[in-house]
Point group: C2
Chain length 347, copies 2
Amino acid sequence: MRQISIALMGFGNVGKAFAKLLLRKQAILKSDFDLEIIVTGIATGSHGSAINSAGVNLNRALELIESGYPLTTLCENGQNFNGEAFINACSAEFLVESTPLNPFDGQPALSYLKSALNRGKHIVSANKGPVVFGYNELSVLAEKRNKAYFFESAVMDGAPIFSLFREALPAVEIRAFSGILNSCTNYLLDLMANGYSFDDAVLKGQQIGITETDPSADIDGWDASIKVAALSTVLFGIPITPQQVDRTGIRDITAEMIKDATENGEKWKLACSAQRQGNHLLSAVVKPQRVNAQSALYNINGTSSYVVFETDVLPGLGIVETDPGPETTAYGMFADILNIIKKFSYV
Amino acid sequence: MRQISIALMGFGNVGKAFAKLLLRKQAILKSDFDLEIIVTGIATGSHGSAINSAGVNLNRALELIESGYPLTTLCENGQNFNGEAFINACSAEFLVESTPLNPFDGQPALSYLKSALNRGKHIVSANKGPVVFGYNELSVLAEKRNKAYFFESAVMDGAPIFSLFREALPAVEIRAFSGILNSCTNYLLDLMANGYSFDDAVLKGQQIGITETDPSADIDGWDASIKVAALSTVLFGIPITPQQVDRTGIRDITAEMIKDATENGEKWKLACSAQRQGNHLLSAVVKPQRVNAQSALYNINGTSSYVVFETDVLPGLGIVETDPGPETTAYGMFADILNIIKKFSYV
């Protein structure tokens, strides 16, 4: 049986869900893949770190974090390592990163991923920042080091977008994409259609953890723009920044506009789209759109998301993800690891 | 540059679209895959066959067929070969099959595919029949011969279904699926919602080539049942026949029922679904369903199709295919070839 060692950076909701998924999938990894994945290190944002070359006990790590304790007691030498020091100290074949997004320059995650590649680790990241601000650099570096940089969970959680085209659909030319890429605003617009005021919707979103304390990243369309930029960068091969996306958020959607739409059997959605011609980007737009029941966007409800691709061989290929959560993001990272193992013929 | 030889069995709309796609993709195969694919033989249903070990001229073959001539003039020895004789006579690394469906036992395609595997060829098939009636046998034989049996286009044309789970989503447990898998009935129900009588809708469907001369395979839900059986067989690992699907077609959907649905903002759809628990199939159903605008089935219009999978890691993953045609089916076969080449590390 092949043993694979991974280091986890980031142990928030996604990192914890990943650890639980790994525990749950141990049996199938063994039976179907002849594989064991051990976690040789975990670095958290505010609960210290643990490094153990024989494998950190994941059940204990989850218990400690959930009881508010630091991980340091699980560390083989009792020391705490953060950031670069953690990457240097932790011996692992993969770095699996789910640290918070920095929407302005992707740091410090981008530097961590570079360091990990330079130390000969494959990198798996759920982080949109490094995709948007470092995709080309990281890809070139990964190629040079004969390692992989996979990031399925950066857009639409664990729904297969990047892997779909990379693994299943060879020799396709993607000409355009459109859809709903931000769960939070979709949820808020649904609440408003059900009579909530904008402020009450935001409050409710915050209560159930869909909306951030500062909701502007979602509401002003930044999160959607980052995702449009990531898709353009990777799938079109045309790198753009979120700032280059023609962006309008949902702040100006009034209760009256929503009411009028509802009365006419229509809905407001925060629609994303981009179009290319060859290597030229024709448009990249995030903008509220009023749609009727015939639109594919109409019944993308709550926190679900949707993207449809127009390609030279398939006129319309849509992907719908319903009810996402940290578990689906965790699966995207898990799938990335197995797909890297397949690509490099480890098993 | 690696040269791959393929033999085409079936040169109807799909086979011809495949030949055109191959011609169009030659440049990208060369530049991105360092690959040339040559067609060393074509067997048609009623226009003879052509075998040429240096490669049949595809442009000429398409011209001949479109002018109503047999292919025999392109054959290196002027002979005609059919069925098994063609497979034996044509030297090729792949058999690419798109002969007509036999919904009762998958023959003779099933035998052709077995012969091809036994002669050491990879097999790519757009045919649902062999999947439903021979998936296990063909898979075991392929494994034994160290060859592949891929059949992406058997369900939802070229939209990635089988390849999605095989290539992109490792270690997933699929618990259920549902959707709209038959384009013809979906198109007919749309026409009826627009005021066509059942008979007029069938006539119109026949005029534009969506509906067969004998429309019963679609209308009575057989085509949808074959697809449900194929998905259960491959994705659940639970082989069932179309006869085992709880099947109701659209014959009893009256103009009044359609009118009543339309007046209430609803639509009739021929819904497919199946559910499992472990290795036990809980249900496999094809049945008309009246859906409202909140349903994911509601805006699957015309000849589009849709399937949503419920898995242990992604609660809902939907695939939508819009505007399919012979070209999309052809792409599924083309993708199968490239995915087999990747799997066997030819390039």
